[in-house]
Point group: C2
Chain length 383, copies 2
Amino acid sequence: MRQITAEDLEYLAVGAAILGTGGGGDPFIGKLMAQQAIAEEGPVTLLDPHEIADDAFILPAAMMGAPTVMIEKIPEGREIVRALRAEERRLGRKADIITPIECGGLNSQIPFILAARTHLPVLDGDGMGRAFPELQMITFHIHGLSSSPAVLADERGSLITLETPDDFELEWQARGITIRMGGQAHIISTPLSGADYKRAAVFGTVSMGIKIGQAVLSAHSRGMHPVEAICEATQQTASGRAIVLFKGKVSDVERRTRAGFAMGRATIQGLGEYRESQLSIEFQNENLVAMRDGEVLASVPDLICLLDSEVGTAITTERLRYGQRVVAIGIPCAEIMRSEAALAVWGPKVFGYDIPFIPLEQRFKDYYRKYGVAGDKEKYLTA
Amino acid sequence: MRQITAEDLEYLAVGAAILGTGGGGDPFIGKLMAQQAIAEEGPVTLLDPHEIADDAFILPAAMMGAPTVMIEKIPEGREIVRALRAEERRLGRKADIITPIECGGLNSQIPFILAARTHLPVLDGDGMGRAFPELQMITFHIHGLSSSPAVLADERGSLITLETPDDFELEWQARGITIRMGGQAHIISTPLSGADYKRAAVFGTVSMGIKIGQAVLSAHSRGMHPVEAICEATQQTASGRAIVLFKGKVSDVERRTRAGFAMGRATIQGLGEYRESQLSIEFQNENLVAMRDGEVLASVPDLICLLDSEVGTAITTERLRYGQRVVAIGIPCAEIMRSEAALAVWGPKVFGYDIPFIPLEQRFKDYYRKYGVAGDKEKYLTA
C-alpha cells in the first residue's frame, strides 16, 4: 500500500505513455484531470493485489475511442463517476476498489480521477499490461470473466448500460456507441471479485509505469541516456528489460481514423549504425508489428514503443510526424499475456498478420544473456 | 375493455399495415408470433385509455430498424419480454399495462406478443397514430415526456439500456445499436403514468386498426370495393375518412437501405381517369409526400397509403415493385398530431421538404363537405 500523489502521476504519465506502445491515448489531459482531482480530494491509496480480500468488489475504469479524437475533445470531468454510479446501481453494490483495465496511455490516469472523486483505493495492476485497441483484449476475458454489465458515459450526460452474451459483442456495440458519442466514451466494465483479480490480472503495472517515468525524468541528472534508464528500470518489472530495436528519423506516416480506430503505418529511415535500414511499424491505435527491411523484429503482445531520441518520452501514434528523431524499443510483455489463450485474443494473427508470436527474449538471446533474463522468462534463453 | 383474440389480430394486421403508411414493417411475422402467444397464453385484454388509473405504470413496446431487414430476419420471440424485464429492473417497478408506441405496421403486433406472454393488458392507443421512422416522433415526446430509460434487446441475448439527456440523442444511439444488432431491435422505452398517457397518447388506434382490417376483409362479401370500405370505416375514428388520391401502376421504385432506414421514391403511372398523370411518393421507411405531376396532394403527418387495387391491402415500401396495380389513399391524422409542437417533430420540413403542412380536409374540401368532416376536424371546412 502506498499513497499516490500529484507528483507520482507526473511520472506515471511518462511511463504509461511508453507502456501505451504508441496508443492508449496521450496521458497529458488525463494527468491534469487526475492531478486536479487529487489536489481537491487528497491522495489516492494504491493497493498491492496480494493484500486485497477475496470478496472485495472491484470495478475497472477506462476511456475508449480513437486517440486521434482524444487530443481534441476534452472530457467534462464527471463522466467516469456517473458511469461508476450507474454500474453500482445496476449491480446493487458499491465498489470497494477501482482498477485500471489498461495501464498504458491515458487509461493509466482515468482510475485516479475516479478514485480521488469517490475516495476509493486503486489496485496496482490491470488487464492488459500495456494498451490494446479492443475491449475483449484483457486478461480478465482470457480467464473467462465477463465484461458485462458495462456502462458507457459521455460528457452530455448519456449513460448506456450493456449486457451482452460475450465480450466480442460488447466490444462491437460499445465501439458503435463510442463513435456516436463523438469518438470517445468513459467506461466501467468487467465487475470483479478480489479472488478473480488475483487470478487474472497483470500485477504491478501502475508502479511499473511510475518507475519507468521516474527513470526517464531523472536520467540526465544521473548521467544516463533516458533510453538506457528505461532498459534498466524495466528489468525488475512484471514485463521485462527493454531492448533498443532501431534508431532513425520518421520518413513517412500513413494514418486514418476508421471504424473508431486510428490505423496506419510509420516508416523510419535509419540513422547512425542503422543508416542503411528502414523500420516500418504498423499500428491500430497501438503499434502491432515492427519490421526492419521486411524482417520482423517484434510483434504484439510484446510492447513496441517509439521514443523521442533526446528525452526518451513516448511518441504516440496520433503525434507521429515526418522528421521526428526516434528510438524504437521493445519490451517483453508479462508472462500471463503469452499463454495460448492470450495469444488467441491479441496475438499477431488476431490483427491480420500471418506470423507466429516470437518473444523478444528469443529473438534477441545474446542481449538477454548479457543483461539478464527479462522478468521471469528464464525459459526463453535456455530453449 | 374487450378481449383481443387471434382473429382480431388477423384484422389488426391488415388495418395496421395500412396505418403503417408504407412503413412500420410488414405485420405478417409479428401477427404469427402474437397469435401463437395468444394460443398458448390466452386472449389479451384491450383497455380504453379513459378507464385506466392515473398512477398506472405503462410501458410501451416496439421493434425498431429497417423494414427491409425485418422481412428477412425473424425474431427469436422472447426479446421483447427480456427488454421489459430489464426496464422493470432498472425502474424498480413492474409494469401494469403495455401500450403500442406505433399503431402502424409490425409494431401493432409486438405489444400483443409481450402482453400475452406476461399476462398484462394492452392500451387502445399509441404515440404516433400511424408509423414514423424515428423514436422521438411520438406524442409523448411532444408532450415533454422522456423516452429514457429505454432498453434494446436482440435475439442473441444482448440488453442495452439507454439513458440520454434528450430523445434525439436516444434515437441517435438506439439507431446505431440497432444497426449493430443486425438492423433490427426490440425496444421498451418511455415509461408513462396513466395520467401522462391520458394527456399525451393518440386514443383508439388499436381498435381503429382492427376496424379497418375488418372493413377490408369483409368488403367483398358486403358488395363493396375494399377501398370504399376503408373510406367508410375510417370516418368514425380518431383519424378521419380516407380519400382516394390516385390509381395506377408502379412504374419505378428507387430504394436504398441507408443509416438503418429504407429510403427512396416510388413512381406510379396513372390508369383510368388518372391515365395522363404520374404520382410520385417519397419515403423514409414511411411514405412522406405524395405529388401528382409535381403538385403536392398529401404530406406527413397525414397518412399516405398504397393499397393493392384489387384486395385493398397495404403494400409496404419494401414490397413495392414494378407493375403492381395500386390505389393511393390519404387518411387525415388525429388532431393531436397536428399541433405546432407536433409538426416541429414530424412535419414535412423535418424530413427535408420545404412545404407547409396542409391537412387533407383543407386540400379536398369538396370531398369532405360531401362525405362529412373527417374525425373531429370541423374547422378545416369552414376556414
